[in-house]
């Protein structure tokens, strides 16, 4: 299929963390930063998409009105942890359809501390029986992976160590602090084998990008980052044990959501994983990142633990992952998390990441995965 190119010409964010500010303030600051970075005015934007999960109805309109009254289409998008990818996909399609030349795509979240409100996701009976902790689901996958492939506690901790180390230079991150392997391995267990310093916290934050058509990029004389692909899927039957699943089939062996989404994204971008220089992936827990290495094709099945142990996914390694510090360091404001990854990847491709720069990065991939097996992957090219 012959489709027109879509470019990111500006990006901006509000730091991830916990703030004594309204979600309107947090979201509109990120949107204003993206507009300023793109060198365009709010009144020039022809459509806007706001990813959010835990905010009230019409949040997008309430946030963006802070930039000035408008009569454009403003739509809230929700697809759990993949909300940002789903919003980006809508923005890209609006431009490809010829319906708009300049689109704002943002994600904003403001979340309570601690475990997420279980009634958003789980049935009452699951809550009564104690099945309502998201980390329990990730942990069961980790336990099985350790059993089948010999993945170790140390390898899981190495992911957290790497990501916390990367975060030290990222002003977007909630925790900009290095933790030693000893500190990580001695932090309290949340759900075995996952520990407190190996898990991300829900928090507040926002991120935004300005998308432009090829025609608009030329008109503005802008230097855009090309959106090579955006893919969003929900998991195939019984292919992913993630909240709020009650059961898994013992007979079906469907491909997991990250594998399916990656295959679609690679095909749409016309590239293979070998051509991608750096990655931002869902690390809601440290084990999850190991499994995603395998599902994106960075290594074979069962080899993810070895990949991090060998240093391949550090900055400077063959396939750097979570240069930003990942969600483990930034926190996960659900609606904003993927666009936060995009902000990092745009900066990597512009070469402006300073100490966490991946040298010569030309192609970058962002990945998110969450409740209901919602998965989104975006591939960007310089």
């Amino acid at each position: 299929m012959n489709v027109s190119n879509v470019y990111i010409i500006g990006s901006g964010y509000h730091s991830f963390g916990r703030f004594d500010k309204s979600y309107q303030q947090i979201g509109s600051e990120a949107a204003a930063a993206a507009l300023s970075d793109a060198g365009v005015e709010w009144r020039d934007i022809q459509a806007a998409y706001m990813a959010r999960m835990y905010l009230p109805a019409t949040s997008g309109a309430r946030i963006l009105r802070c930039l000035g009254a408008t009569d454009i289409s403003v739509i809230d998008i929700e697809a759990a942890c993949a909300s940002g990818g789903a919003a980006l996909l809508q923005g890209m399609m609006a431009i490809r359809a010829g319906d708009a030349d300049l689109v704002l795509v943002a994600g904003t979240e403001k979340m309570p501390r601690g475990f997420m409100d279980p009634s958003m996701i789980y049935s009452p009976w699951q809550i009564e029986l104690g099945m309502s902790m998201n980390p329990a689901y990730w942990s069961m996958r980790a336990m099985r992976h350790m059993h089948e492939y010999g993945t170790t506690h140390e390898q899981i901790a190495m992911v957290a160590h790497k990501n916390h180390l990367n975060s030290v230079h990222n002003p977007m991150a909630m925790y900009q602090k290095e933790f030693s392997m000893e500190q990580i391995l001695n932090s309290p267990l949340v759900c075995d084998p996952i520990r407190l310093l190996e898990i991300c916290a829900p928090n507040d934050g926002a991120a935004a990008v300005i998308l432009a058509s090829e025609r608009k990029v030329r008109e503005l004389g802008a230097k855009g980052i090309r959106v090579a692909a955006v893919a969003h899927t929900i998991s195939r039957y019984s292919s992913d044990f993630r909240c709020p699943a009650e059961t898994m089939s013992a007979t079906m062996d469907n491909l997991g959501p990250s594998e399916v989404t990656a295959a679609r994204a690679y095909e749409a971008a016309g590239i293979g994983v070998d051509e991608i220089d750096c990655f931002e992936v869902q690390d809601t827990d440290a084990f999850c990142e190991i499994e995603i290495y395998e599902e994106l094709g960075l290594c074979g099945v069962g080899e993810g633990g070895r990949l991090v142990q060998d240093g391949q996914t550090r900055i400077g390694g063959a396939t750097p992952v979570n240069m930003s510090g990942g969600l483990i360091s930034k926190g996960e404001p659900v609606g904003a998390s993927h666009l936060g990854q995009i902000v990092e990847l745009v900066a990597q491709l512009r070469g402006t990441c300073g100490p966490r720069q991946v040298e010569g990065a030309k192609t970058a991939l962002g990945h998110v995965l969450g409740a209901g097996g919602n998965c989104a992957i975006t591939i960007l090219q310089k």
């Binding site: 009650e246 059961t247 007979t251």
Partner: protein, 144 residues
């Protein structure tokens, strides 16, 4: 003492048959005639292919532990476990070679092992506002 117990399942259609004799209670499955998959509970549509051609089956009471975790903190919301929280196992229990069911685990947390044989343990969780006993389930070691 009343000879009739007023009991309901914690989730409609979760169990097969009457709930009077807990030793004889089974989980209910729905087997799809179109694709052969079995879902948990009495279902209107197959979770795989969407077919409505489903037959109820009583699932076997024995299973093996496919994977598990240990919940170290009190779960959020309306958790009905012991008032004084105690870490407990949660696992996926493989039953009849067709289904892996998420369930609380009764064995001592140090005894949990992937592959261990387990047995269904239906029990009275609480009494509801109408005086009915609400029946829930967990899996215990074979001797429990």
């Amino acid at each position: 003492m009343s000879t009739e117990t007023n009991r309901i399942a914690i989730k409609d259609g979760l169990f097969a048959g009457p709930l009077d004799d807990l030793a004889d209670v089974h989980l209910c499955g729905s087997k799809c005639a179109a694709c052969g998959e079995t879902g948990l509970g009495s279902l209107d549509a197959c979770p795989n292919c969407g077919s409505a051609d489903l037959s109820p089956v009583a699932l076997g009471n024995r299973g093996t532990l496919y994977t598990y975790t240990i919940v170290r903190h009190r779960p959020p919301g309306n958790y009905r476990g012991p008032a004084e929280f105690k870490p407990f196992g949660l696992g996926l229990v493989e039953v009849d070679g067709v289904l892996r069911i998420m369930a609380p685990l009764l064995p001592t947390i140090d005894d949990l092992r992937i592959g261990m044989p387990l047995r269904l343990h239906p029990y009275v969780l609480r009494t509801d506002e109408n005086g009915a006993e609400v029946i829930a389930f967990a899996y215990g070691a074979m001797g429990e």
